[in-house]
Symmetry: C2
Subunit: 390 residues, 2 copies
């Protein structure tokens, strides 16, 4: 397997970005990522764009060519990757594979989402369709928060997880988002704020849910030879990638205590990277809802099944704890531009592994210089796990 | 570079397929492709779905998981690839790279499109948006046939190409479609039929344009080791792949005589496969409009610039000629389910290279056992060229 490194990363401001169109938004991430790599746009041989909303919540049907033209990437090979909320990771895998296969020396994955351009149907309705539209959504009307609410109820019934435990995830992630200038919700909250917020799908309340966010993130990848050419001081190597999927219909799942796709993807990523969960210094865990982060701990293997609640109660996933998780604010508070999240996770891993987290107070302590990104699409419909090592 | 082979192919009936939903349509191609490979669905480690219309001309927003569940592929890694009309080739490149990179032993690319599920906007309007929606489509109202009509006018002005020459492409491709049981338009036509058909965007008339088609095609790929395990008699090897892109805005193109993305992609594919255009036994050339096939001859290098018209006039691209092109009927008459076409081209190459073209009368003579697929997205916005060798 050819070695591939992350050599440049860029990130736009996350939030409500009615001030830019999709190309301008992408450019805010692409430009700094190329500068970070010390490379020019014309050196990029292949670009994979991770985005879900083309023709849904924004108007462009062929966003990859539009973004490529605006960012000076025309002539590179292009593809758009969609794996719902894991689209950014699918794009990263695509850009990675193009180099690992021997086809290219330098590639790029860009995550992009602008979720408020189209009013009808809204992004809220589109996301509700995640799963099997013609069967479960259309016939039973389950919404996306309702899917995760079923999982929350099952976890509470089996493991004694409480609404306060869920709230602790939100409190932790808001704490770190308040320290992250690119985050959407830069505001500390309390357990009481969460518990007293509006019920969305019981037991999930407004502050258990991630916001609808616009934003972009860009990652430049290079082969070992290209890393030398570019004289990169701190390449961050792709150590392992795992992927899997779950049934479209949630009614066909074996249980509602965790996401099987996460377990399989994590196992594959650990196997290909020859690492164990105990060797991971920190992680980005997909927290579209607070319950998702707790199940994520367990599915990835950061703790045993049913022990996730203990990790959050004891503060083990904060900086200073056993395994810091989502110290950029996570989807919950940094925000979750659907197709962008996977690339935003890679951005955070890279910055942390280089020990250049923008805000030093957010720098995690590194022992093995290994970080993990866990990115779910839908409700465990897709999963990609990526392990980076400096 | 790890060797990768096509070991199984499947194809649905192309046409107006209101009789099936997207999963059933995909299954018509997936099932025979697995049988062809002598493999089971659970052996597929990664599946890339090539499709453009999710949430546009059909309702499912996450078609990959829906198709995977129906076809027994759940648990495989999944991604959906969109590169407009080259989505099938982008998916093939993704499935190929997953093996070539060393990440998987068996993968699958499935092309799928069902273009009449949603009435408003129609597929016709969506396709018109190809390019830069917010600029050229929205402001100037150019439609997709109008884009290619500009190219046709320029080619006619510079090289003396006539409307009759364009018609010859349609006549040839309809002739072969009439012999292909999976084709959408199984009907021979004459030059007069084309010339007297309704003007769509002058000089292009109805019979210069491919139809709006529903259909699916599936390709199973395997590593060299897996080819041995499966005891495949006639593996067809991926010899080379090239890709490139063009500007989103057509107003930014250098000229309207050919598609630069095609030339660059073809050059890369020839370079990686260490073959020359003269060694190609036959080709699938992207003929969404008749002018596209003639420009394709020239862009790929099957003839010099401006000589494409001569090839079609002399019948050199028919069986018995120098280089048979689109002997399955092409997009023009076999039909063009947008995201399916790339995989359908690989299906045809594989069948021909194995010398098992379903209808023996359509079998091309093979000398070097090399075939080429040229797949354009939009108006040269994307291009993938794939070369297979038995």
């Amino acid at each position: 397997m050819r070695k591939v490194a992350v050599v440049g990363v860029g990130h736009s401001k996350f939030g409500i970005r009615n001030d830019v169109n999709i190309s301008e938004l992408a450019f805010e991430a692409v430009k700094p990522s190329l500068e970070d790599a010390g490379a020019e746009a014309k050196e990029v041989e292949f670009m994979a764009l991770g985005t879900t909303g083309a023709g849904a919540w924004y108007e462009e049907l062929l966003p990859a060519v539009v973004v490529a033209e605006y960012c000076g990437l025309t002539r590179a090979g292009l593809t758009r990757c969609e794996a719902a909320c894991a689209s950014g990771s699918a794009a990263f895998f695509s850009a990675y594979s193009a180099i690992a296969s021997g086809h290219a020396e330098m590639t790029m994955s860009v995550g992009l989402e602008k979720m408020r351009e189209v009013d009808n149907p809204t992004a809220m309705e589109w996301i509700g369709r995640a799963g099997y539209y013609l069967w479960e959504f259309h016939n039973f009307g389950l919404t996306f928060p309702a899917y995760y609410a079923m999982y929350a109820r099952a976890h509470m019934a089996k493991y004694g997880t409480t609404e306060e435990d869920l709230a602790l995830v939100a409190v932790k992630n808001h704490k770190y988002a308040a320290m992250n200038p690119v985050a959407h919700l830069q505001k500390k909250i309390t357990v009481d704020d969460v518990l007293s917020s509006m019920v969305v799908a019981s037991p999930l309340k407004l502050f258990d849910c991630c916001p609808i966010t616009d934003g972009a993130a860009s990652v430049v990848l290079a082969s070992e030879e290209k890393v030398k050419d570019l004289r990169i001081d701190t390449p961050v190597w792709v150590a392992g990638i795992g992927y899997s999927s779950g049934t479209a219909n949630l009614s066909k799942r074996n249980d509602y205590l965790g996401l099987e796709a996460s377990s399989i993807a994590a196992e594959k990523a650990f196997k290909t990277s020859r690492t164990a969960p105990s060797q991971i210094d920190f992680a980005e865990v997909h927290d579209c809802f607070t319950i998702a982060e707790i199940m994520g701990y367990e599915d990835i293997g950061l703790c045993s099944k049913g022990e996730g609640t203990k990790l959050i109660r004891e503060g083990q996933t904060e900086i200073g704890g056993k395994i810091p998780v989502n110290v950029d604010g996570g989807l919950k508070a940094k925000g979750h531009p659907i197709g962008t999240t996977g690339c935003s996770m890679i951005y955070e891993l890279t910055k942390q592994l280089r020990e250049e987290a923008v805000e030093k107070s957010r720098q995690v302590p590194l022992k093995n210089y290994v970080g993990l990104a866990h990115n779910i699409g839908g409700t465990g419909h897709y999963c990609y796990v990526t392990i980076l090592r400096r």
